[in-house]
Amino acid sequence: MTEQIIFYLLAIVVTVFSILAVTSKRIVRSATYLLFVLLATAGLYMLLGYYFLFAVQVSVYAGGIMVLFIMAIFLTHKPGNNVSIKQGWRVRLSLLLSVAGLLLCGEIILNNTIGIVRFAGKEEPTMQQIGTAMLGTGKQQYLLSFEMMSILLLACIVGAILIARKTKTEKNEPNETEL
């Protein structure tokens, strides 16, 4: 009973703020609405009693990625201005695509409900189990090698920036006001 009430509250938050996030005309507000969606999703994990995923969702998405989003928005030109949506066909196309995506996901979830119940009903894994699953090298434990590859990619990105960066000249470069 209580769980159902909390579930519906979270579901309403997710739905309303998802819609607001794409319809809002101010990009910083969109980011904030997206943050609420991510937090409500974290709430759903907590409702399931899976605290590890809750903490991961909050720290990675809400605390990490959203902060980077907002910082990146601040660096854009005039982030406070209202965005005007002109092309009507784009809106209609994306609406169509999202409805199609919803139908596809709904179909998959409906036909595999038994599988979901089986996963959700399991006991919460201990930290030791999660740790071995993440850093193990056994069957189906690919996370370690995956993360190693991401470090390689990071090194590539840093190297690319270093090569592409202009070398500093001794002369004082003219600043923006002079240009």
Binding site: M1, T2, R26, V28, R29, T32, L35, Y51, F52, F54, A55, V56, V58, S59, A62, G63, G64, M66, V67, I70, M71, F74, P79, G80, E124, T126, M127
Partner: protein, 374 residues
């Protein structure tokens, strides 16, 4: 294990309240009433701790600067912060033209909700623990990272360049130092083999983690204190609100209660950092005990666990104030250098050293099980 007499513990009182509620209400209502009671208690503790910290900070600052500090209201000015609170409550909340109203009003709530969420997970004493997840340390790191969003939104929605620069500085600083704080706590998670606060405390019964992990634990402790201090935007790291350059940084445009929220959460974040450091490194609410000295242990247990907790946290908070009023402010590039070029590499190496020490059995509990073992 011997059961010690604990006359001042709140365990019996809590059990009595629990019995009373269960005797008079159905199970569903019992949970609801208990939840509300715990919520009220946490909010009350939040306010009381913040008010007393503001008073203590002003007195300590005055002491360091050889002046008197608040001394008019009540004996030694003890009700000064209460009077300030009443003043801030009845002040007008000023509306700003051309500011993003919604985000401007929402921003202080992000900051205060993040610190209340973190505050709720602290173990204040024996059985005085609202949330005891098996991922306690991780939960605390996760929810405390939400506060920075409030600061960024506050700076942006104020429509003020100083606020914006303050918020950007704060964001860069918080993201950087959060890494160090997280890694230094992970070092101790490796040592104690658990993320649950109650298990971490139980593991420190005869030997604090600070001594149990000797060299790497002490390095982690120092790094945690530095980065925790930087995360709260205080002391030598208060660039986001450097008053000589940015008036008051991200909360320049705020007034009344909204400003009060930022102010309260700053002090509470300081308390949370000190409390986490005390719990993870200094044994939390566990009294100082020595194996085999039963009489000594009994005397230590006469001091209630919550007094130990607040004593240890208070000591660390005094260090924090000491640092704040002793060092000049860093420049922003020096600040980021300190984190990325020194603290982070040291921290990563330190984590590896800790893993080696734990795996090869060089912790104090492994070396001297007769003295420190469980």
């Amino acid at each position: 294990m011997l059961i010690y007499s604990q006359p001042l513990e709140l365990t019996k009182l809590l059990a009595a309240i629990d019995n009373f509620l269960q005797g008079n209400l159905t199970p569903g209502w019992t949970v609801l009433v208990k939840g509300i009671l715990v919520g009220i208690l946490i909010l009350a503790a939040y306010t009381l701790i913040a008010l007393s910290l503001i008073y203590i900070e002003r007195k300590v600052a005055a002491f360091f600067q050889a002046r008197l500090g608040p001394n008019r209201l009540g004996k030694y000015g003890v009700i000064q912060s209460l009077a300030d609170m009443i003043k801030i409550l009845i002040k007008e909340v000023i509306q700003i033209n051309k500011a993003d109203k919604l985000l401007f009003y929402a921003a202080p709530f992000f900051v205060i909700v993040a610190s209340v969420l973190a505050f709720g997970a602290l173990p204040f004493g024996m059985n005085l623990h609202a949330l005891d997840f098996n991922i306690g340390v991780f939960y605390l790191l996760a929810v405390s990272s939400l506060g920075i969003i409030g600061i960024l939104l506050a700076g942006w929605s104020s429509n003020n360049k100083y606020s914006m620069i303050g918020a950007m500085r704060s964001g860069a600083q918080f993201i950087s130092y959060e890494l160090s704080a997280g890694f230094s706590l992970m070092t101790i998670v490796v040592l104690s083999g658990s993320m649950q606060f109650s298990e971490i405390i139980e593991g420190q019964r005869y030997c604090w983690n600070l001594f149990n992990g000797h060299l790497p634990a002490m390095i982690a402790f120092l790094i945690y204190l530095i980065s925790g201090h930087a995360e709260t935007n205080r002391g030598p790291f208060d660039l986001p609100e450097a008053e000589s350059e940015l008036t008051a940084g991200y909360h320049t445009e705020y007034s009344g209660l909204q400003f009060g929220f930022f102010y309260l959460s700053e002090y509470l974040n300081m308390f949370i950092v000190a409390a986490v450091a005390a719990t993870v490194f200094l044994g939390g609410w566990m009294p100082v005990q020595i194996k085999g000295w039963e009489a000594f242990n009994q005397v230590m247990w006469y001091i209630p666990s919550w007094a130990w907790f607040f004593g240890k946290a208070g000591l660390l908070m005094f260090f924090s104030l000491w640092v704040r009023w002793s060092f000049p402010r860093l420049r922003i590039d020096l600040l980021l250098n300190l984190e990325w070029k020194y603290l982070l590499p040291i921290n990563l190496a330190n984590l590896l050293v800790m893993v080696v020490i734990v795996l090869s059995g060089f912790t104090l509990t492994d070396l001297f099980p007769a003295l420190f073992g469980k």
